[in-house]
Each structure stands twice: as structure tokens, then as C-alpha cells.
């Protein structure tokens, strides 16, 4: 085992392997000895991920200098199966190096942030090992160059996110949300498994480098394998129709949401699609674009009606992932990856800012509790917030910058990547409509435009609700008025926020903040995918105008809105979005209930089989009783009859031998007479 097959070794392969293994070692150390370490070892996990980050920087810069490396181990050698069928490959190229950097950076920031945010929380000992193992799984996923190994890490990412989402394991909703996330991911994984099965049967290898050669004929299986992978990515990247797990997953701790639901886990789907891009046929790409377009609209609208600060961001994430899907589907994966990259930073920034707000609200709760005023309000409910810009000014600034980036305002990173995606979508629709003579393809860029408008609308609504107006909690609890104090952010919380804020600007990505094409990221990746990056200018203007329109409309709509009223808000609209366009109800009625009913019926069938077996057994016993009766009364009866007869006959003959001479004389006389009679008859 573990013999080298191919060696194209460079230091950077080792660096990235070490970068992946450091969090794993952090997991083992903290899992077994965390309790004994000072501060439960959170500093150790952070230190190790920090080292990983430094290594990932080294790897990133050497790759951008033009180096690359790969390594292949034999994993399982079986006779009867080709030699390199099951191997472990690591490949460091542009795609993986930028993912390693993103994962390590966000993970490091989240580690730092969590040291303050999670301090003193229940089960703190478990938190950092879980974060570490998640980071390990994610890094393994991005450096693997073998589809099977990728799948294994893919599943591990699902499992570790199960642990993190269900971190508050005594909370029923959190546990249910983690189960839901895992199961919806599993539905997607069925697609992945089917793709693996197809690829195994037709290509005989899982190595990415050989996959392209093996699928030369464009058979139906080729498309099906692609669709299987797309299904997997739909599950992991929370796309229609499997996205319902993501809003629920907000039950997890907020730094976790920043890590896995903004930057890493949900991005894994996009990453995989870019990685297997060469396997995706045109039909599959069209499917991807359609799903992305449906998803972005379907999730942008419910985001307008959420009152939970994190749920707005969750729906927004789904919607932005939809953009990335469209980017892939439009045949410009570099745009999708670019959006993944920028989105990772500004969305993590948004989540961490939301976390800071929630942290502040929790502190108020804490203060109230100590003052003897017990009030169990929901710390994530935006209807209780308002005017927080004065209390947490730093968070406010970060939030403004990151949300502007999300909305896609010029000078910010989101502008660049979103323009690239929409431009790509428009080019794609253009060429398809020309060849197929149908305008239906324009629906996809159209939905990108509409979503851009809604994005501005829901973000401005959230901004207004959280940071402007009056602090509505104060109106509810007048006692708070007296305690009007300025909040000091701990450095552990403000440092990650500032870093993410800086990375939400356009400048780190492009020297010309108005032109997506001039960004180094797109340029570099264009060498890999070689797609058309010439976007029409009016697309950019339209998007920005739509976003501005959304902002203006939002300011006027939400400026003086009253959020707290005695009447519970209940309308058909809320009902619709509360259930994700009735998707949840549909799943419940179409999958969960029939599933349980089927389970009930199968237990009944088993019951029937059992009764059948028992019936046979009883029939057998009855039969044996009948046989026993037959044996006793008929067979034994005959025997006894014989015996009785024998006794009777013997009794008769016994009497003959009485010992009386006279009797014998009579017998002899009679016999002689009979003999004489017979003799005479015979003579005649």
C-alpha cells in the first residue's frame, strides 16, 4: 500500500497536505484532551488553523507564480481490478489553491471570532474540535483529485455540518434542523453515488485526470452522470428544490453559519461543478442555469418577509448561490468561482456582524437577568432591534459595506463578480436564442436582473430594521432606557469583521474597480476555462440601476414601518413564504408521510409473514395431533383388535384342553365321524 504511482512532487503539495492535516490533529487533541487544556484548548485550534492559513498563503502565491503539483497514492490494490482504480490523489492548481486559501482564511477568522462569541457557552469543549474537523473535511474536499475521495470528504463535510448545526443539542429545533440538513444532503448524495457508479462502469477510474479521456462518446450515461453530480451540488449548495434545509440550519451557532453556510460547505457544490466542468454536457449546463435562475428568485422573495436576522441572510445566501449556478450553467465557471470568492467574504462579514448584533442582544438579556428583570425575548428577532448604529457603530459600518457589496454597488467586490455572472448569463442567452430561435433563454438573465432588484430591497429592509429608527426593545422594556451605554467590541470580534470588511471592497480584486474583466482572478481563471469574458456594458448599468431602484424603494417602504403590533402578522403571503412556497408541505405530504405509511405497511407485511409462518406451525401441530389420534385409535386400534381377537381365539382353544377324559372322548368321536363323512363323500 501507499506506493507512489505518479510523482510530480513539489513542496506545495506537502504544504497543502500539512495545511489540511493540522486541523485534523487539532480535532484529535481537543476531542480527547480538550477538557484538560487551559481555555479548553481553543487557542490551540486557532493557532493550528493559523498555521494552515500561512501555509495556504504560501501555496496560493506559488501557484499564482505558475507552479503546480500533484501526488497519487495507491489506496486499494485488488486483483481483477485495474491498478490505479482506487487511488488517493492530491492536486494543487489554481482552483484548489484559491479554495484552500478561502477556507483557511474564513475558518481562521471564525475561530478567532468564536473564542469570544462562544465563551462560556454550554459544551464549549466540543465546539472547537467540531470546527477543526469541519475545516479538515473541507480542505480534503478541495485538494482531492479523485472523485471517490472527493465524495468521501463531501460526505464528511455533511456529517461535520450535522454536528455543528445541531450543536445546541438540547434544543429540539436545532436537532431537527441538523437532521434535515443531513437528509436533504443525502438525497443529493444519491445522485453523487449514481454518478460514481456510472463513471466506475464506463470509465473504470475516479481520477480526474483520466476522466476526460474515458467519456469520449456523448452517451446518455454521460449526461446522467453529469445530472447525478448536479443533484449532489443542488443538495450541498442549497438549490431548488432541495434548498429548504438551509434556512433551518440557522439554528446552529452564528459563527458556524458564517463558516459553513456562507463561505465553505455551500460553496463546495459550486467548486465541484467547476472541477467537473469538462464532464458536463450542454443539456446538463442548461439544467444548471435553469435551476440557478429559479432558485435565486424563489429565495430572494422570501428574504423580504423574514423577521429573523439570520434567516434573511440564509435566503440571501441561497439566492447568491443561484447566481453561481447560473454562472456555471452559462459556461463561464470563472465568473461563478469569482462570485463564490467575493461572496465568501462579504457574506461571512454579514453573518459575523449579525452575530455581533445577536451577541449584543444577548448581553442585554444577561444584564436584565442580573437586574432581576427576566424577559425571554428572541435575540434574533429584527422587530425588536432598531437604531443599533449608535450602539454598535463598528458592526454598522461593516454591515453597510458588506451589504452594499452583496447588493452589487460599484467599488465593492460583489459588483465585479455579479456583473461577470449576469454578463455571462446574457451572452449565453444571446447565443442560445440566436441558434434556437427562441426567446425563452432570456428568462435566465431576466431573473438575474429581478433578483438584483430584490436583493437591494431585502438588504435595505434588514439595514433599516436593525440599525435605523428607534431601538424597539427599549420601547417594550422601559427599564433599558436608563442603561444607555456604548458597547465595546472585543478585539476578537472586531478584527475578523474589519478583515472581512476590507475584503468586501473591489480593490483587492481588481485595480480598476469598475471593470470585472480587469480583475486578476478572472484573468487567471480564464486561462483555465477559456470562456468569453466580453460583457455588454448596458448589462452593468441596468443591474446597478435596478439595485439603486431597490434601495430607494426600500428606504421609502421601510422608513416608518411599525413592526410590533398586538395583531400577529398573518396573511397568505407570509404563509406562502413561511413554508418556502409550500415546498416544505409538499415534502411532508409527498415524501415524509408516504415514507412513514410505507414503513407502517412493511411492518404489517412482516406481521403477516410471521402469522403465516405461525399458521404453518400450528397446522403442523394440528396435523401431528391428527396423526397421533390416528396412530392411537386406528393403527393402535387395529393392533389392539388383533390382540383382543388373539385373546378371544386363544381362550376358545384353551378351553379345549380341559384335562377331562370324557370330553376328549367326545371330541375324538366327533372328529372320527367327520373324517368318515368326508372320506365317504370323497369316495363318491
Amino acid at each position: 500500500m501507499n506506493s507512489y504511482l505518479i510523482t510530480d512532487l513539489d513542496n506545495l503539495v506537502y504544504f497543502s497536505l500539512i495545511a489540511a492535516l493540522l486541523p485534523l490533529s487539532a480535532f484529535f487533541i481537543l476531542f480527547f484532551f480538550g477538557k484538560k487544556l487551559p481555555r479548553k484548548g481553543d487557542w490551540l485550534a486557532t493557532l493550528l488553523i493559523g498555521l494552515s492559513f500561512i501555509l495556504s498563503l504560501l501555496v496560493f502565491f506559488s501557484v499564482w507564480e505558475g507552479r503546480a503539483g500533484s501526488m497519487t497514492f495507491q489506496w486499494i490494490a485488488l486483483s481483477g481490478i485495474p491498478e490505479n482504480a482506487f487511488s488517493i490523489s492530491v492536486s494543487i492548481d489554481k482552483l484548489s489553491s484559491f479554495m484552500i486559501l478561502t477556507v483557511c482564511l474564513i475558518s481562521l477568522l471564525v475561530h478567532l471570532y468564536s473564542m469570544e462569541y462562544m465563551k462560556g457557552k454550554l459544551n464549549y469543549t466540543r465546539y472547537f474540535p467540531y470546527l477543526s474537523i469541519f475545516t479538515f473535511a473541507m480542505l480534503g474536499l478541495v485538494i482531492s483529485d479523485n472523485l471517490l475521495i472527493t465524495f468521501m470528504f463531501w460526505e464528511l463535510v455533511g456529517f461535520t455540518s450535522y454536528l455543528l448545526i445541531g450543536f445546541w443539542f438540547t434544543k429540539e429545533e436545532a436537532v431537527k434542523a441538523s437532521k434535515k440538513a443531513f437528509l436533504f444532503n443525502r438525497i443529493g448524495d444519491l445522485g453523487f453515488l449514481l454518478a460514481l457508479m456510472i463513471i466506475w462502469s464506463f470509465a473504470g477510474t475516479f481520477e480526474f485526470q483520466y476522466l476526460g479521456d474515458s467519456f469520449e462518446d456523448q452517451s446518455i450515461w454521460f449526461t446522467l452522470a453529469g445530472l447525478g453530480l448536479v443533484l449532489a451540488c443542488i443538495g450541498k449548495s442549497a438549490q431548488f428544490p432541495l434548498y429548504v434545509w438551509l434556512p433551518d440550519a440557522m439554528e446552529g451557532p452564528t459563527p458556524v453559519s458564517a463558516l459553513i453556510h456562507a463561505a465553505t460547505m455551500v460553496a463546495a457544490g459550486i467548486f465541484l461543478l467547476a472541477k467537473v466542468f469538462f464532464l458536463l454536457s450542454e443539456d446538463v449546463l442548461t439544467t444548471i442555469a435553469t435551476i440557478g435562475a429559479i432558485t435565486m428568485l424563489m429565495s430572494a422573495i422570501p428574504a423580504l418577509f423574514q423577521n429573523d436576522i439570520k434567516k434573511v441572510l440564509a435566503y440571501s445566501t441561497i439566492s447568491q448561490l443561484g447566481y453561481m449556478f447560473v454562472g456555471i450553467g452559462a459556461g463561464v465557471p470563472e465568473a461563478a468561482l469569482f462570485h463564490l470568492f467575493t461572496h465568501a467574504f462579504f457574506k461571512a462579514g454579514l453573518f459575523l456582524s449579525a452575530g455581533a448584533v445577536i451577541h449584543y442582544m444577548h448581553e442585554i438579556k444577561h444584564v436584565l437577568f442580573h437586574e432581576g428583570v427576566y424577559n425571554d425575548f428572541d435575540a434574533q428577532d429584527m422587530r425588536l432591534m432598531g437604531g443599533l448604529r449608535k450602539r454598535v457603530p463598528l458592526v454598522f459600518i461593516v454591515f453597510i459595506v458588506c451589504s452594499s457589496s452583496l447588493v452589487g454597488l460599484p467599488l465593492l467586490s460583489g459588483f465585479l463578480s455579479k456583473e461577470a455572472v449576469i454578463g455571462a448569463a446574457f451572452n449565453w442567452a444571446d447565443s442560445y436564442s440566436n441558434t434556437n430561435n427562441s426567446f425563452v433563454y432570456y428568462l435566465i438573465p431576466l431573473s438575474c436582473f429581478v433578483t438584483a432588484f430584490f436583493t437591494a430591497l431585502y438588504m435595505i429592509r434588514q439595514l433599516m430594521m436593525v440599525f435605523f429608527g428607534d431601538f424597539r426593545l427599549e420601547n417594550l422594556i422601559p427599564y433599558l432606557n436608563a442603561k444607555h451605554e456604548h458597547h465595546h467590541q472585543s478585539l476578537l470580534i472586531s478584527l475578523p469583521l474589519v478583515v472581512l470588511c476590507v475584503l468586501s471592497f473591489a480593490l483587492p480584486f481588481s485595480l480598476n474597480p469598475f471593470s470585472p474583466q480587469s480583475s486578476w482572478f478572472l484573468k487567471e481563471f480564464n486561462q483555465l476555462f477559456e470562456s468569453n469574458l466580453e460583457f455588454a456594458h448596458w448589462v452593468t448599468y441596468t443591474t446597478v440601476l435596478l439595485a439603486l431602484a431597490g434601495i430607494v424603494l426600500g428606504i421609502f417602504t421601510y422608513r416608518n414601518k411599525v413592526y410590533i403590533s398586538d395583531k400577529a402578522e398573518k396573511s397568505d403571503v407570509l404563509e406562502l413564504f413561511g413554508h418556502n412556497w409550500y415546498l416544505e408541505k409538499f415534502y411532508y405530504k409527498a415524501m415524509v408521510l408516504p415514507g412513514f405509511r410505507l414503513a407502517f405497511y412493511t411492518t404489517k407485511i412482516d406481521y403477516l409473514i410471521d402469522r403465516l409462518i405461525e399458521g404453518t406451525a400450528i397446522a403442523y401441530v394440528v396435523l401431528s395431533h391428527i396423526v397421533a389420534w390416528f396412530d392411537k385409535n386406528i393403527i393402535d386400534g387395529i393392533v389392539r383388535l388383533m390382540a383382543t381377537l388373539a385373546v378371544f381365539i386363544s381362550g376358545f382353544f384353551k378351553n379345549l384342553q380341559s384335562g377331562k377324559v370324557q370330553q376328549y372322548f367326545v371330541y375324538t368321536l366327533a372328529t372320527v365321524m367327520i373324517l368318515i363323512y368326508i372320506f365317504f363323500n370323497w369316495m363318491k
Partner: protein, 584 residues
């Protein structure tokens, strides 16, 4: 000693039986240590044997090429005049098909020995039965003589019947008699086929000795064997000179079948409208499917598990089910390969049915142990699927899955036992939030559940993955598994995740709560050290095998390749012959 190590493995428990029977009842505290010592020694030997086998350098049998460490002694020889000569051998040996099973049974027996600490009733009888069971299990896995195999196979029933029937739960009599009758029914079918095989198969080795080609068995060469086979097929050997045998390796070659006998390929005998060889295949198959168990012959299993005490459940799920799968690859497939080719899709249908149906049943269960029992049936369905695929990855995967399931189901039943020991209640709905009271136990259960639902880095994933890859590969190449079946089988992975996670959510997470009906004396103690000693090694094994599956797969694969060669070369040949001969 190395040459006799297999015999030592088999009979070590019987040696342990002697002090057990001699010691008076007042010393009953020592019984468990005797059993433990035997199992510990056996495990060390089994690991030694496994390492010996996996490293190249061990001499293979000169005649039966694949087998290593063979021991062959004449046991019963009767001259039957015109019918020929009856010869039963004590013939044991190791190849890729059984080497992992020997290791598995030693490990599971050791775990069961530790788990038996909590047994309090009739200790002498209990441990005596456990030791007898141990001997018969290992004997069954190592026998290469069908008669010997059957003897050990049947002999397992006796200790199991009493272990469930005396030390079991409230409905133990019902469960034990059900287990006994089900298995006995299967055994009868197997026995019928064995008798037919005995009349049909000649032992070329002993026949050549009898014909004077060689002085004794050791002197027989491969050349002699092929000479005798040639003479046999051209009917040159007089009937009374033929030595009939139960040798399994002999049965795998069509050349050893006596012309004109019941199971010879040219036979014209029909049984219920089927050619007799096909009927024999089905009978043998059914016999082992009951043991496996495959749906719809599985209903003995949940009852037996629910009533059996924890160590017996562990043995039942960990080892005894594997004998069904092992029987299939050891006897059914190589002896009647054409049946495998002909009925391939029927077998894979049963496999997919087991996977999906049993998983649905597990979803509907309210008893923790029953849920685990049904999950066993579902996971053994993957074994059957892998076997039915007839591809290298499928059958390798099936053997791997048997090992993995042996380890995981032992762990799962131990975990169920941990809870039962504390509360005497197994209702899933009677508990909530156990994680707050028993955190270490919850971690162990979570790992075992996720390993069972096929999470990568645990062994269950590799077994299921290989089975599925093999099944689909079969769809595209040999067609034994139709497309829709291999695709449906994937659903088993989803349903498996559903019932395990749902159970986890209901029993372990949320706020702590237990049903009022549960009475327990002391607090919910977390795992004690004895329970840790049992569970931790199992978890480590499943983890190591999940990361380095080659440890187990690589020694196995040579034998699997030969087996597949047998299935497809002689299977297709036989089928063609039979079709030409009688327009099947």
C-alpha cells in the same frame, strides 16, 4: 505448530471446556475467566493466522492451489461395494473467502465473552454452550469438506437454541423455537443437496491412490489428478473403484462429477419442472438465504434478537448471519455456477428487496433492538447484492461488508444492551435527551450509527460502495443485476440515514426525559470501563478499516478472482451444455 494452527483454533474452546466442567459450582466465578482466556488466545491466533495469510510466502496446497495451511486426515472410510467407497475427511484450510471470517469470529467471540460478564444465571451451562458454539463457528468457517461443514453448521443450532431459550427475555421460548425451526428447514434443504452431491462427486486424489497411481495421498501429483479426471469422464474407472467425497474444492470442478450421476451436467433428471442441478442450486441457495437472512425469510431474526441476551445477540448478528453469506460464496456459487448465471437477477431482486424493505421496516420500529435487527437485514442485503453482481468489486465488497457489518452490528447490539442493562426498557419513544446524562455513551452511539449509515472513513461505507459499484458494473457488463435494481439499491443509503438519524434525534437529543413506566434503581451512569473496553476497539476497527480497507480487501481478492473465473467459465459452459442438451 504453524501447520496445525487451524485445528488449534477450532478445538481450543473444547480444551477450555474441560476445566470448566471439572470445576465445582462454588468456583463459578472462574468460568468467565476461562472463556475469556480461550477467546483471547483465539483472537491472538486468528490475528497471527491473518497476518501469516496476508503476507506472501505461505505455501499453498500442492493440489488445491489456492488453499493454505490445509490439514487433511481420513476420518470415515466405508467400502460400499458397487456404489464405490465413502470417504469423509477432516479437511480444513484457509483461503481468501474464509480468512477474514475467522478473524471476525474470533474478535466477536472475544467481545461477547466480555459482554457475558453481566450474565448471572446457570453460569456453567452458559459458558459451556458458548465454548461449544465457538468451536462450531470456527469449524464451519474452516471446513473444506462439505460433510464436516454441515456437521459444524448444524451443531451451531444446539447452543444457540439453548442460549436464547434459557438466558433470553420474556418470549424466549417462542423466539428460540422459531429460530430453530427456520434454520432447521434451511438445513434440510442443504442436507438433501449434500447427499446428492456425495453420489455425484468423485475425489480424484483418493481415487488415484485406490487405482494405484500413487502410494498415498501425499504422493499424488497434479498430473495424477488430471489423469484420473480424464479417466472418470471417459468412464474408464470401474464404479467400485471410485472414491466418493464431500470435498468442496473437488465439487467446484465439473470434471470431478461422475458421468451418469444425479448432478452431472448431462443429467436428464428434472425436479418440479426444473433441471435437477437448478433445483439443487435453489435449494442450497434458500438454505443459506434463511441464515443470511434475506427478505422474505427473515422474520426469525428480529424475534431472536429481541429475546436473546446481549452477548448472544452480538454473536448472532456478528457471526451467525455471516455463515449465510459465507455459505453462498463457499458452496453455492462455485458448485452450481450456472444457477448463479441463470438466476442472477432473481438473487439480486431479493437483495434489493432486503435492502429497501428491511430499511423501511427499521423506520417503523419502536423497539431499539428490533430497529437494529432490521438494519442488519438491510445491510446484509448489500452482501447479497455484491455476491449477485458477480463482479470482482461486488464480491470483494460483499466479503468486506460481512466483516464490517459483523463489527458494527456487534457494536450496535452492545450499545442497545448498555441501555437495557440500566433500565430494562428498549422503547425508542421512552427516552429523550440521553446525551445530557450519558455523553460518552451518546458519542459511541453516534459514531456507530453514522458508521452504519455508510459515512466515509468508516468501514460500512466501503462495503456498501463496493457492492453498489459492483451491482452497476454488473448491469453494464454481465447483466446479472438489472439497471433498475442497482439504482433502487442506492435508496437503501437514504432510508438508512433516515432511521438512524431519527432514532438519534428522538432518543439522545433534546431535553432529558424518560417515560414514567421506566423504573431504574440507580442513576443513568455513563459507560463503565468494561463497556468501554468492548465498544472502543470495535470503533477503532471500523475506523481503521474505513481508512485502510486494503488491509482486508487485498488478501481476499485473489480467491475472489478465482471464484469469479469459476462462475463465468464453468457456469456459462454448464449452462450452454444444459441448454443444448435439453433446450432449457
Amino acid at each position: 505448530m504453524t501447520e496445525k494452527v487451524l485445528s488449534i483454533l477450532i478445538f481450543l474452546p473444547l480444551v477450555g471446556l474441560i476445566p470448566l466442567l471439572v470445576l465445582p459450582k462454588s468456583r463459578s466465578g472462574i468460568y468467565k475467566y476461562i472463556n475469556l482466556a480461550v477467546c483471547l488466545l483465539q483472537t491472538i491466533l486468528a490475528v497471527f493466522v491473518f497476518c501469516l495469510y496476508s503476507k506472501p510466502g505461505l505455501v499453498t496446497d500442492p493440489i488445491y492451489g489456492l488453499f493454505k495451511l490445509t490439514e487433511r486426515l481420513n476420518w470415515i472410510t466405508i467400502d460400499l461395494g458397487n456404489i464405490g467407497r465413502l470417504s469423509i475427511n477432516y479437511f480444513i484450510g484457509l483461503d481468501g473467502l474464509n480468512v477474514t471470517m475467522v478473524l471476525l469470529s474470533a474478535i466477536v467471540m472475544l467481545i461477547a465473552a466480555i459482554s457475558s460478564w453481566s450474565v448471572e444465571k446457570h453460569l456453567k451451562g452458559y459458558y459451556a454452550l458458548l465454548l461449544i458454539l465457538n468451536t462450531s463457528v470456527l469449524g464451519c468457517f474452516l471446513s473444506l469438506d462439505l460433510f464436516l461443514f454441515f456437521l459444524f453448521f448444524e451443531f451451531m443450532l444446539l447452543p444457540m437454541y439453548f442460549l436464547i431459550g434459557i438466558w433470553g427475555g420474556p418470549r424466549r421460548e417462542y423466539a428460540s423455537i422459531k429460530f430453530f425451526l427456520y434454520t432447521l428447514a434451511g438445513s434440510l434443504l442443504i442436507l438433501a443437496v449434500i447427499i446428492g452431491l456425495y453420489f455425484s462427486v468423485a475425489d480424484p486424489v483418493e481415487t488415484s491412490v485406490r487405482l494405484g497411481l500413487a502410494e498415498n495421498i501425499e504422493a499424488v501429483t497434479v498430473n495424477d489428478v488430471s489423469n484420473v479426471q480424464g479417466m472418470l469422464q471417459s468412464k474408464q474407472i470401474p464404479k467400485r473403484a471410485i472414491v466418493h467425497s464431500f470435498n468442496i474444492p473437488d465439487m467446484t470442478s465439473p470434471k470431478n462429477f461422475i458421468p451418469g450421476s444425479v448432478f452431472h451436467v448431462f443429467t436428464k433428471i428434472n425436479f418440479m419442472g426444473l433441471p435437477i442441478r437448478m433445483a439443487a442450486f435453489l435449494a442450497l441457495l434458500l438454505g443459506f438465504l434463511i441464515k443470511l437472512p434475506a427478505v422474505p425469510f427473515h422474520t426469525w431474526l428480529p424475534d431472536a434478537h429481541v429475546e436473546a441476551p446481549t452477548p448472544v445477540s452480538v454473536i448472532l448478528a456478528g457471526i451467525l448471519l455471516k455463515i449465510g453469506g459465507y455459505g453462498l460464496i463457499r458452496t453455492v456459487l462455485p458448485v452450481f455456477p450456472e444457477g448463479m448465471v441463470y438466476f442472477g437477477s432473481f438473487i439480486s431482486f431479493l437483495a434489493v428487496l432486503s435492502i429497501v424493505y428491511a430499511a423501511m421496516n427499521a423506520l417503523g420500529m419502536k423497539d431499539l433492538k428490533k430497529m437494529i435487527a432490521y438494519s442488519s437485514v438491510s445491510h446484509m442485503g448489500f452482501v447479497l447484492l455484491g455476491i449477485a453482481s458477480g463482479t470482482p468489486e461486488g464480491i470483494n465488497g460483499a466479503i468486506f461488508q460481512m466483516f464490517s457489518h459483523g463489527i458494527l452490528s456487534s457494536g450496535l447490539f452492545l450499545a442497545a444492551g448498555v441501555l437495557y442493562d440500566r433500565t430494562h426498557d428498549r422503547g425508542i419513544e421512552n427516552y429523550r435527551g440521553l446525551a445530557s446524562k450519558m455523553p460518552v455513551y451518546t458519542i459511541a452511539v453516534t459514531i456507530l450509527f453514522f458508521a452504519s449509515l455508510g459515512l466515509p472513513v468508516f468501514s460500512g461505507f466501503i462495503g456498501e460502495l463496493f457492492s453498489l459499484l459492483g451491482a452497476f458494473h454488473s448491469s453494464t457488463t454481465n447483466g446479472l443485476v438489472p439497471y433498475w435494481m442497482s439504482i433502487t439499491a442506492v435508496l437503501g443509503i437514504l432510508i438508512g440515514a433516515t432511521y438512524f438519524l431519527w432514532t438519534l434525534q428522538r432518543m439522545f437529543f433534546g431535553k432529558f426525559w424518560i417515560s414514567k413506566n421506566i423504573t431504574f434503581n440507580n442513576k443513568f451512569n455513563d459507560l463503565n470501563s468494561r463497556e468501554m473496553i468492548m465498544l472502543v476497539p470495535l470503533i477503532i476497527i471500523t475506523l481503521v478499516l474505513g481508512v485502510f480497507p486494503g488491509i482486508l480487501l487485498e488478501p481476499v481478492s485473489d480467491s475472489v478472482e478465482v471464484l469469479i473465473g469459476q462462475i463465468f467459465s464453468s457456469g456459462l459452459d454448464n449452462l450452454k451444455t444444459m441448454q443444448n442438451f435439453r433446450s432449457l
